[in-house]
Symmetry: C5
Subunit: 103 residues, 5 copies
């Protein structure tokens, strides 16, 4: 899995039938910096299925590949990227690197 920040959303009208009604979010993977004190953006973009209610700027946990079909909502769907958790906090050593606002 990887940690990603929600950046936006994608709208498609013409699509594979099994994709109708799915919320598709643009997410950007983030990485711990060298000292493990903050998260740095990677400038990459993925599109992930969301059924947990993630919002813009949230940090989320993303699963890729065939494992992204291992949820009730995505079973047998042509998806290779799904949000499996909304992150509350990340700790590295004694430092709290991230805490969800309002969480």
């Amino acid at each position: 899995m990887f940690i990603a920040r929600v950046r936006g959303n994608v709208v498609t009208t013409q699509k594979v039938e099994t994709m109708v009604g799915r919320k598709m979010l643009v997410v950007e993977p983030v990485c711990l910096d060298e000292k493990a004190t903050k998260l740095v953006p990677t400038a990459k973009s993925f599109v992930a299925v969301d059924f947990l209610g993630a919002g813009t700027a949230d940090l989320v946990l993303v699963t890729q590949g065939s494992s992204s079909r291992m949820t009730t909502q995505t079973e047998r769907a042509p998806v290779d990227c799904v949000i499996i958790g909304i992150i509350d906090s990340i700790h590295a050593d004694a430092t709290q690197v991230y805490r969800k606002s309002g969480g």
Copy 2:
């Protein structure tokens, strides 16, 4: 999944039998820039199966790996990259980053 722009098409005569009759498009992944206001090209190329009728310059949603076989059209085919949607629009924060022309 990832967002990609359709760049061209590939013609093959000599091929695996199950690939006969499939439309193969060259697509280039694109990423949101740092401010989430525009899409930037990545200079990478993939070849994706298309059965939705995508055209040159369209932005499309692409699934990779075993999940690309999870459509009626690609089941059990030796394909690892398929277009599952033609993108109408992409929003990031309050900005409309992309809108399909004529859409």
Copy 3:
């Protein structure tokens, strides 16, 4: 899938039994340049199974991962990269980017 140029071949005597008799080619992925007028090398190397008769300098279409086992010749083999087509031509916009010599 990706577009690749055949660069060479690999010979192995000591190998997994199900790999005996397979032709293994070294291929280099190529990408469309920014203006979509020519193909540029990536300097990466993969080894792909070939049963279509591809030759040195040919451009081929390559499938990766579990999908590379979706041919009669590679079913249940420990291969993750296979040539599924020999490319005749590639077009981008109105430009013919590639045409197989003698094709």
Copy 4:
């Protein structure tokens, strides 16, 4: 598989039900340097499931993709990254590149 160093941990309250109770660690892949005498960090971050009791700064062996579901603990879970071993030592040529402290 790849070698990674444990950097931190991730807490998620809102998540896919099958992820409840799993320990999720942030790990950073490391690589052998040119002379094979030391390990160098890659600045990348992955999140891996841990059920072996790995601790911060440990070097671990990480499996990705569908193979990460091939343990009793992760079978059918939407996970694509799991720790399958805590590394005691790494040797390259005649050099001991790493030895677990207290090991």
Copy 5:
């Protein structure tokens, strides 16, 4: 698949039970250079299961992902990287790029 050079080995005591007794080698992918006359290192490291008896400095053929479970020795194991051949020679154009010493 990719071509890699064996660099070292990894020892783990605490591990998933199905990993007991497996030989784990650190391998570095190598690529053909622009002129296809020599192999260049990539500075990346993977850990691959070996049951063919590969030794330090050998060039090996490596399969990744679910395909690495398609051998009798790795079936249903949580491994995503396995050595399927020890390379005797690599040819590119009329050049012999590599020949195993003593081979």
